[in-house]
């Protein structure tokens, strides 16, 4: 039986899940440094308990540890994300008005994202940025798929209302 205590298994688990753990914490608290620390903490705990955690359980183990780490400890900060210029990539000639409007929209989006409750923002971004399926997010958060769909729905609704100024 493979064991997380074996170096190559541990490294594989780390490479597969560390980025998501990082993003998961970052989306929640908007703090990059804390997200880095959470990755370290979660995987150190996994290493220390490697004999007790099977490779199949390792994934949910690190999410749980990371999630519990800052529970009620730190206050969420502003989540700063980079915007790819995907909208303008295929356009060669953009008017200054258009660029201006684009910039404004991104700002509104940033504000709207930060105005979301932590769990809605985390769910929304894990889906939009990391391409995580609702089922996977449900597993990370330890809630039902239905609850994640609810969060997604509410997140979209709030974002649109915030951006459109309703």
């Amino acid at each position: 039986m493979s064991n997380v205590c074996e170096d190559h298994i541990f490294s594989k688990v780390f490479k597969t899940h560390s980025k998501t753990v990082f993003n998961f914490i970052f989306y929640k608290f908007g703090n990059e440094e804390k997200a880095h620390d959470a990755v370290q903490e979660a995987f150190v705990k996994l290493w220390q308990n490697c004999a007790k955690v099977s490779p199949e359980k390792a994934k949910s183990y690190v999410y749980t540890v990371a999630n519990n780490l800052y529970l009620n400890v730190i206050k969420a900060e502003k989540v700063r994300l980079k915007h790819a210029n995907s909208l303008s990539n295929d356009r060669t000639n953009e008017s200054p008005e258009f660029l201006m409007e684009e910039k404004e929209y991104k700002e509104k989006l940033d504000n709207a994202l930060n105005a979301l409750p932590d769990n809605q923002r985390t769910t929304f971004l894990l889906n939009r940025i990391d391409g995580k399926k609702y089922a996977e997010i449900a597993e990370m958060e330890g809630v039902s798929i239905k609850a994640i769909e609810k969060r997604m729905h509410l997140a979209l609704k709030s974002l649109r209302e915030h951006i459109d100024g309703i």
């Binding site: 990755v39 980079k82 997604m152």
Partner: protein, 303 residues
Amino acid sequence: MQENYLAKWLSGELSEEELREFENSPEYASYKRLKDATSGLQAPEFDPDLALQRLKEKHIYNTPKVISLNPFKKFLRVAAVVAILLVGSYFYVSTLNEKVSTAYAERSEVVLPDNSEIFLNADSQVSFSKKNWDNKRNVDLKGEAFFKVAKGKKFTVSTEHGTVAVLGTQFNVENRKDFFEVTCYEGLVRVTHNNQETKLPAGTSFLVINGKIVDDGMPSGSLPSWMNNESSFESIPLKYVFAELERQFDIKVSSKNIDTNLLFTGSFNNTDLDMALKSISTPSKTNYRVKGDNVLFYAGNTP
């Protein structure tokens, strides 16, 4: 529109009809733009290789890894128990005595490790330790048996009435309820009864009935009579004769109006019940009646 339709729309789970309805709604354009804009979002840089390296250097190589030793400990525990059981049962089994017994109307012959022989009469039992035989030639006896003991160290027969010790000889021990008789046919036998030692040379016997030592006659022949399928008695209370009859033929003997303490001298055949009954009834002046496995001895004419 179904519940959480915005989530379903993002994951492409809306039906065509629902999708068309949603696309025609006034807010669709806003959602479409939101979808496009968020698809270009990027999380901060994270380099898993670098993070792993940092983790290993900072924490893992400096932290003793906690490896539970439980599985091995458990294995050791089980192994220890198994070992103890094996050793224990080996010693137990090796101290267990060999046991040979006979039922009513049954005979048996036992050859001991030193080629000494034991002939078991009906309803008797001998047990001895095969493993320890060379150190201690001891046989526990219940009932009656004839011994042909090979020459060697002291050979002991233990009974509840006393012990019989010999060096090498042939003798018979009968050990029944309230009845203990040792007859020596060859050599010398030492009988210990109630801490009293009696030396029994060949051709003599030692008899205790009801705790009283009784003067016994000389045995005839070189073998106990039962070895020749005959039970013989010399001045033995009738009740012991009846008991022997029961053992030899596996029957139930009862009596009526008869003093079973009367002494009987005579013998009966161990193979023919009819003859045996006559052999007892004639000299004791009694009558008998057979009913299946039951025999009733009675005095006079009426049962």
